[in-house]
């Protein structure tokens, strides 16, 4: 069974204090790993898709990396507006057809000024 575990559950940072969020996954053949950001009362907002180990993607202060067992979301010099819940999801590779996204429970990030 495909599984995603995110850590920590919650993270409190001071503005400018860089850190990383972890997403560990178990999947029988990875098709893609997805990072989303979710603000309170809103739906998840797509950030990145990573397809293979060694791949990295960046967007502003965020950089996502992928290994065969986990992904990291690195946040460099965060600002209060980066406060949100960050969700990780995996999609398995199968021979045919649709494969659902399996989500972790997220990391709640709070960045204080």
């Amino acid at each position: 069974e495909d599984q995603v575990t995110q850590s920590p559950e919650a993270l409190r940072l001071q503005e400018g204090e860089s850190s990383s969020l972890n997403c560990s996954y178990t999947v029988s053949g990875l098709r893609g790993l997805f990072w989303y950001r979710q603000d309170p009362g809103k739906g998840p907002e797509f950030l990145f898709t990573l397809y293979s180990a060694g791949e990295e993607k960046e967007k502003e202060r965020l950089k996502a990396t992928l290994t065969k067992k986990e992904s990291f979301l690195h946040i460099t010099a965060p600002k209060p507006e980066d406060s949100a819940t960050y969700l990780c999801a995996v999609q398995a590779r199968r021979n045919t057809g649709f494969q659902k996204l399996v989500f972790g429970t997220g990391t709640r990030l709070l960045v204080s000024p």
Partner: protein, 115 residues
């Protein structure tokens, strides 16, 4: 429209009543997905549509849950005889199609509270 829209944004109902939740996907997106997000839980996949067809309904929690999509656009998720454990945020997403490397774009969700 510019994004996925859902209505109502909030729904409070009494146990045993039926509810209908609506999703309007991004124009041109042929795939549509329903998820449930309970407090402290990850997003739980419920069902997807490719066009008007729902090939896999195994994610629906019970036979009280059903969904349909007409005209390849708007979808309705119906919960019959609601129970307190159905209280959650119901999220809809859409993508260009279901079986390719296409990102899913989410709506704001409907918060359902069953009293």
């Amino acid at each position: 429209g510019a994004g996925v829209s859902q209505s109502p944004s909030n729904k409070v109902t009494e146990k045993g009543k039926d509810v209908e939740l609506r999703c309007d996907p991004i124009s041109g997106h042929t795939a549509l997905y329903w998820y449930r997000q309970s407090l402290g839980q990850g997003l739980e996949f419920l069902i997807y549509f490719q066009g008007n067809s729902a090939p896999d309904k195994s994610g629906l929690p019970s036979d009280r849950f059903s969904a349909e999509r007409t005209g390849g656009s708007v979808s309705t998720l119906t919960i019959q005889r609601t129970q307190q454990e159905d209280s959650a945020v119901y999220l809809c997403a859409s993508s260009l199609e279901a079986t390719s490397y296409n990102e899913q774009f989410f709506g704001p969700g409907t918060r359902l509270t069953v009293l």
